[in-house]
Symmetry: C2
Subunit: 411 residues, 2 copies
Amino acid sequence: MFLSELIPMSNALNILDENQIIMKTEKIKLEDSYLRVLAENINSFHDSPPFDKSAMDGYALIAEDTFGASSNVIKKLNIIDQIGAGDFSNKKISSGEVIRIATGAPIPEGADTVLMEEYTLINNEGTNNEFIEIHSQVTPGENVAICGEDIKKGNKVVESENIIRPQEMGLIASAGIDAVEVYKIPHVKLIVTGNELVNPTKSLEKAQIINSNQYIIGSMIKSCGAKVDISIAKDNFDEVQKEISESSKNHDLIITTGGTAISKGDVVIDVVDSIGDVLFHGVALRPGKPVGFGIVNETPVFMLSGYPVAAMGQFDALTRKFLFKMQNIEFNPRVEKRRANVKIYSNLGRTDYIRAHADNSQVKSILSRGSGVIRSMVEANSYIIVDENQEGITKDETVDVIFFEDMNWNK
Amino acid sequence: MFLSELIPMSNALNILDENQIIMKTEKIKLEDSYLRVLAENINSFHDSPPFDKSAMDGYALIAEDTFGASSNVIKKLNIIDQIGAGDFSNKKISSGEVIRIATGAPIPEGADTVLMEEYTLINNEGTNNEFIEIHSQVTPGENVAICGEDIKKGNKVVESENIIRPQEMGLIASAGIDAVEVYKIPHVKLIVTGNELVNPTKSLEKAQIINSNQYIIGSMIKSCGAKVDISIAKDNFDEVQKEISESSKNHDLIITTGGTAISKGDVVIDVVDSIGDVLFHGVALRPGKPVGFGIVNETPVFMLSGYPVAAMGQFDALTRKFLFKMQNIEFNPRVEKRRANVKIYSNLGRTDYIRAHADNSQVKSILSRGSGVIRSMVEANSYIIVDENQEGITKDETVDVIFFEDMNWNK
């Protein structure tokens, strides 16, 4: 397979859109749902709170009975019952009466407010006093959480296609629901290719290179809310073909690194071309021009470079969005404005993902010679993205910056 | 135990600082280290690349041999060997000679540059041509990644006390290291107290409240890079004492919800006071004034409110920082500037965590009556923090905003 023309990023993204797959759904326990994506609207079975509830420890009473009370005019009210949390009273309050009440307990009939314990003159804690003395007024409704003020029965409380954060879990629980329909987690196969690759070792032989992509791309896949299996293959047509062919049957997505050189046949591209379709090969993207995308047995295959930094750029520019969308989440990282403190060259028609370091006000590019320089990714905390319609950036221009941490799933 | 005086947030944070614990460390496999915290400096066993490496598929040659080549002046050079990835050549290049070379392979002796395949006039792919024809000049060093340009042998490549992201994993691997010393993950016990609490159900009985804190606070603990066990206890001194006492022996941190009312004895505070030390109870914080902190058997105990939103505020204001620091990471979420589109009241001396919704330019508070309103946390995406030295915020003032997503571990 031989392709020498680079397509613009916008075309590549369109091709990905047209071939986007979305995971099936499954029912899981609410307790396991943190950071999963809802695949159903959640409607509440209950009002929440389910009854008028005391928001304080104190005394349920009729607000009018306190009117006129002051430090000079002490009012005395009779205690007729007490209600602990999880308990309730069958007694009804009349004028001149109060019921001692715990936080969270239901307001007894007749009462319209709760007077906080600290506003009573006598501390009744642990005693059997039959009355309280009060010296301040309360207004009706004070310290009462009204039935349904948080959630109304039957109302939609959380919408489908949202990542479940702690607060959504709480709201779903309060709605009376302990199991939710969510999108399945994409199961990704990462195939790292290269004859020269060895695992981390203290003693390298000549021509050997340590396989860092298995760690880098493997954890980037995790940073998209997906799970990953990893295998290593030699630059050998049959071996790569066997790996891709088998993976396409039991994984939702395949990502390869290495074997994507442009302007000559290269093993991964050739394999996908022989057992599936290569939909693009070569994108006007820097770093990361030799990137491919194809389909084998209905399984999408992202073919990334063997160079770690090129592979990272390709992943962030193309794969990340696709992986998020597999769980029906749009990848829309926050874009920040910063002042560029260097001039940056680019070409019209090419999209640049420039490794950069941004602080609160400015951003500078992390200069490095080659795309093999992982160190620049460690020193960088962000990308400056130079759009295909821009020719570069002048010094002191305000530019768009995306922080690496904002590209993660967990938000 | 009876404490009626609220301490300022700054005092509470000082007390937490003085009682901060840091986890012990452990050695784990590099492949399991994503988002763990390094507890050692990483020095490289290798130069990286470990040899002068070709950055392209092409021909290794002597740059000077190309000088003068142009579309009119074609130069012809002899191919004396070829080197695949993972392979090397023992031949030395002399003037007029080239060696065909794959990306990632070692530059052969004598050569000082690599000419890209596409700049040769004859495509030699799959053929046995003995020469190439070239029509352009190259400069020395082109397409060559110099030995050690990324990492120098013996140099520190990653510093201790950093969260391991994909790029750090790659750099550590390239350094020749496959196992790293990291801080242990804090093992937290969450004890949710309350007689009124039941698990999510469609049919609530009178006075029952669904236990949402087990989900909310449970997943907030996970959002700090920690793991959690959860138990439920009645508002009963003996039951709570048994839970806290046992948990203090086999967990690194205890978090409780409920039983922290101020101005009267309340069960959780009383238990910690009886079997350990309550170091503060009551902080000038809204929402979340009735929050306590203590130590039982050298295990820190955060005593949060039963009200979900109060508990969330207390967790974000106090507990989150402590949990991060247990893995020796400072909790320093990005602070953004936004224009407040409402006036916000606060009191001098009190810190307010105002649930808010921020967009690219402005922020508005999510108004709600009570602190029991989880819905406000679902609608909010950020906090406006009103410092204890501020009396409030005027409309159109620029304020500090922290996005919820920036408070998570994964960044």
